[in-house]
Symmetry: C2
Subunit: 296 residues, 2 copies
């Protein structure tokens, strides 16, 4: 019996009602949704909730080491829908270090057999107002990383971020823009992330999902736009069903492309984080079964 | 001497250094930038600061009545670069009332001889997730209003709003989308507002400004995107120069279209509102002269 046997780290508890429900077959827990859980706890939580995939983050993986993380995930039979995250390419003074850091992230994605390594472009460097040049640096970085990732059979995925983050987090703002970059490469090598929080408002979202097609969508992530927007915009995402996003329409558009991958629930929200992780998993499983699964 | 003679409502003060500077020739104060000023105070403040145009809001105009407002503005020799604002068309239960209210706004714009009546689409009605239908209602409302506005020689302008407001304020999110609607009509009848805060992040912004052309841009408004974003996103706008927007590039693109109208400074920000209005005008005049005027 290894120290990572599920449900290590969690007290005994009645399984959630939806564990074993076939509607959860493609549900993946993005680890940041239960931000205060260690990797071991997140793995145990997924096992208890009947969730078969997980999107892992580099920091909690690093706490145990990537080889150990891989063993823990294998022991639990968990698939890795994504590794979050690489990117942050936009500071010219840190460009070389960013490339080196992203190569390390690619190495980790290879060990973890993650379906994709999610890339976030990065924001404008301090005092820099040239968003066009920042976008170009992000594009060049991805070009530099593709051969390295290709050798290791790691898919890179470009995540367009809501324009609320254009200044300080992600200068790639639309699915169209992400696809313009991704389409320079084979779909096996570079895809895009469709995250409902980031793209729901876009008048072109359905057309651009169709343009992407099932092989170019590397990850489909769901979380909600809620109002009033919480004061810390980084933590402004909500539980599906609590806000304004048309999950039926966007999910159906993703499904219509033939996308057959997992659907990650990724929620950054202080209230969600304050709740018991297993309650969060129970809620998101129900919401997923009701709001997402019927349209897949 | 009428009660509205400038500088009524303001104590004696040394004129700001830039009053009379020819670089301010096209500067307009959007009244919401000095939100605690009455119309009389705003008029007096503009006169003192050497600002020759003002973008007025319906509420402070209503406090004195539109005919009186027109007389006050005429007495001060102030031009009206815009009337803010009409719109809010997206609630199906309030659609007819919204049309009636916007006809009243058009009447006011005619009396005020405002260069344009700014229209904000409105957000998603409570519990409604169909943003496509909401956008269609906004479009239909504009179609209904154009003949009425045309008879009164009032230009309507569609203001795309930053996607941060798509859920609760403005479902028209990009300049491209606003132009798709505006171009159904003569440029004299329906234009667009280019507000740097709303459009700066858009990968297509320069192309869409060029597409609009000088006769379709009904208003050019400047204000800044600052980080960290203030907690109340409605008040998250900053003074030009304090944030991330490339005013040189966007202003040059607007100028290249041949746009010859005023440039409104519209800042919703609690710190700006807490400051003395005349200090705000002195600051924005300097920032305008340094950051905007050279690129016009």
């Amino acid at each position: 019996v290894s120290e990572f046997d599920v449900p290590s780290g969690l007290p005994a508890r009645i399984p959630t009602p939806l564990a074993g429900d076939p509607r959860l077959a493609r549900l993946s827990l993005n680890q940041r949704t239960t931000a205060d859980w260690t990797l071991a706890q997140a793995i145990a939580g997924c096992a208890e909730a009947g969730i078969g995939s997980i999107g892992v983050w580099r920091e909690p993986v690093a706490e145990v080491g990537v080889e150990t993380a891989r063993r823990m995930l294998d022991d639990a039979g968990l698939l890795v829908s994504s590794l979050c995250r690489g990117g942050f390419f936009t500071d010219p003074d840190g460009f070389d270090e960013a490339i080196a850091e992203n190569r390390r992230a690619i190495d980790e994605a290879a060990v973890l057999r993650a379906d994709t390594l999610v890339l976030v472009a990065g924001g404008l460097p301090p005092g820099d107002r040239d968003i066009v040049a920042a976008r170009d640096r992000a594009t060049r970085a991805i070009e530099l990383l593709v051969p390295y990732a290709q050798e290791r059979e790691v898919n890179l995925s470009i995540e367009p971020m809501h324009p609320i983050f254009a200044a300080d987090r992600g200068v790639i703002s639309t699915l169209s823009q992400a696809l313009d970059i991704a389409e320079r490469f084979d779909a096996d090598d570079v895809g895009v992330v469709v995250d409902t929080f980031h793209v729901w408002w876009d008048p072109e979202v359905l057309d651009q999902i169709a343009r992407a097609g099932g092989d170019r969508i590397a990850s489909y992530q769901v979380c909600e736009w809620i109002t009033p927007l919480p004061a810390d915009t980084l933590l402004s995402r909500g539980m599906m069903g609590d806000g304004h996003i048309d999950f039926a329409g966007i999910t159906a558009a993703v499904a219509a492309t033939g996308y057959s991958g997992d659907v990650e629930v990724e929620i950054f929200n202080a209230d969600v984080w304050a709740a018991d992780g297993r309650d969060t998993l129970a809620t998101l499983s129900r919401r997923y079964a009701e709001l997402i699964h019927p349209h897949l």
